[in-house]
Symmetry: C2
């Protein structure tokens, strides 16, 4: 009777209220009954997204919404900057090139933040650049990029700032209207505490303006058509009814907590995790610009990081993530986003300590836990 | 305490086993644990699809899989035939034109089947035509098209037969390998008895050959990439984990019933529904080539069909579908696909009779029910 814990950067644990809502008998999507749920959900989604813009709900993974940002806003040959600081930055570039955009790649070392001055230089040298594509939080490296500084560069230019906020929305303060983000993308299986299967995308007025001149083809991911349908409390194509039922419940939890408190909770859990790693004498992958969604930690020299991930999952029932590409086996990623609190962090760190010991590393058990506890106590009166 | 019944042609009722599977706690998708479920599900899906081809599972509605048939198999300027006998035939054409294909439209009167001779004529006159796009069952009109006859025309030509089987797969015998269907598309919320959110697509070897020369762009819906991942028991992008959990349970039900019995059940329920309509003196929309998924019935002259649909839903808790476009208010569509049996048909017909009476039509209550019962009794020893 092994209990299991999901502490990877997506999918994240789903609260019971959402699980049960998804188990409700099916209802038809073209009915006033479903439209009511849909309208309420769409409104709550704006709250979690911190925007007055419409937030469109697509039946796809987050990648579908990323693709829609390209195919709805650009034309073949358009120039864009891609901030490539990890797997998902790379994905922005791949999608752009698939659709015939000219990509100015900015290669950023994994774990680092992009330097806004490099973006500024490119924008100055290439006034025809029409978009800057970046992550707010690069899930593969647990690093965040300076979105506010980048927005200051695109705001007054004829250029869109398109942000993959898949592990940032609902995690950190990212008010797109105020900052000047033009497109903000997220997905259900992250801070939205749901299974995968829904993607979310919000566009600024400036972005909607671009969409009128874009000539790239699209059909399933037609954002103008989705917006038109959203106004009528429905979707262009059959919506993922059960996931939307679950989403409403998850959003009600966020509303109840208050989005500022949601952000503060993620910040606290992230600081606790970093404090634990540091107390254990381990190096962080993104010490200077850490994401609040997950924390990348280098495993000690000589310890098999992939082995630790497997051991934790199969022996202890604790699912965390390892490293990708050149970081395979070298890091672990402890996530703390979504339906997570104090004792999820305690579980992650204590399990990680115990696994390190099992793998022969000389670890003082409880030392990371204690450091985390110090931070986690902040939440209590 | 009004009980509700879902008898529309999708979404369809979800069996408890699937509802509960979707309510299971989330697990990570890149784990041996999920891969095992995924592999078993993919194998069961081939059984329900009656094919030896891989059946790819996409996180989208069925329209996404339709779009992928175009963007993965064709190049701009390619010529295709579109059988347009309803809303979904129209959609094939819209997608094709969106991506710059040259469409030879075959307009078919709603409720009618396409005449294969017309397709043959077009193929003979235009040897460069590379695809025939059609529905097996046109959900908007409850008519079916003669897929075997069309396949006989495309089989030995350098031309693909691409079939929207969204309300046909799992409903009627449609063995793509034997018939010579090159692409077969379906969706979760139909005979697969699940909420919307998954699309399925299977390609013949001939279709995979076409995919190597196709130049249309795609990223999220990249079928070759999905196939490569399927071989490794995973998906290219994050799969809709909870829906796949539910899918496995639904497919186990189909396996247990036996796919031939599943088809026979749908055929019986459809015949019972048609017998009821006829006994009530009502005209069928597709008398000569009816779909086994749903039955379109003209409401009597002077009766408001849209009002009946609304009345049944809001007063009696019975959700059926009405007509679309020029058939709005003129027909009702009683569905009998998915997790449905004898008494779902009895409910649909008795409710429809009672609503007709409420709407002032001189109906002999129970007459349709009795006619249906005669057919439904076939199922019992």
């Amino acid at each position: 009777m092994k209990k299991t814990y999901l502490l990877a950067p997506g999918p994240t644990p789903v609260p019971d209220a959402s699980l049960l809502a998804m188990a409700r008998p099916m209802i038809h999507h073209r009915t006033p009954q479903f439209s009511k749920t849909f309208a309420e959900t769409a409104e709550l989604l704006k709250y979690a997204f911190q925007t007055e813009n419409d937030v469109l709900i697509l039946a796809s993974s987050g990648t579908g919404a990323m693709e829609s940002s390209i195919t709805n806003l650009f034309s073949p040959g358009d120039e864009v900057i891609v901030v490539n600081g990890g797997k998902f930055g790379e994905r922005w570039g791949q999608i752009s090139e698939t659709y015939g955009l000219k990509v100015h790649w900015i290669k950023v070392e994994w774990g680092q933040a992009v330097d806004p001055a490099v973006i500024e230089g490119l924008l100055n040298d290439n006034p025809s650049i029409k978009g800057v594509l970046t992550q707010a939080s690069e899930t593969s490296t647990t690093a965040s990029h300076p979105i506010r500084e980048i927005a200051a560069l695109t705001k007054d230019r004829d250029c869109l700032l398109i942000v993959d906020g898949i592990t940032a929305v609902g995690v950190v303060d990212l008010p797109m209207d105020e900052i000047g983000i033009d497109v903000l993308v997220s997905g259900s299986q992250k801070a939205f505490m749901l299974p995968p299967g829904l993607a979310f995308i919000a566009l600024s007025a400036k972005a909607w303006g671009f969409s009128e001149y874009a000539t790239l083809p699209n059909y399933y991911f037609n954002l103008a058509k989705e917006r038109k349908n959203l106004k009528k409390d429905t979707t262009a194509y059959t919506p993922a009814v059960s996931l939307i039922n679950g989403l409403k419940e998850a959003l009600l939890l966020i509303k109840e907590e208050g989005i500022e408190n949601t952000h503060a909770r993620h910040d606290r859990l992230a600081r606790a995790t970093r404090a634990a790693a540091t107390a254990l004498g381990l190096k962080l992958l993104a010490p200077d610009n850490p994401s609040s969604a997950a924390t990348g930690i280098f495993v000690p020299e000589g310890v098999d990081g992939a082995g630790i991930v497997k051991y934790l999952r199969d022996e202890m029932g604790v699912t965390i993530a390892g490293g990708q590409d050149h970081l395979k086996g070298k890091i672990v990623r402890l996530a703390h986003l979504g339906y997570v609190g104090t004792f999820d962090v305690i579980i992650a760190i204590s399990a990680f300590e115990m696994a390190l010991k099992k793998f022969g590393h000389d670890v003082e058990l409880g030392k990371g836990v204690a450091a985390a506890q110090e931070v986690l106590l902040e939440a209590y009166k």
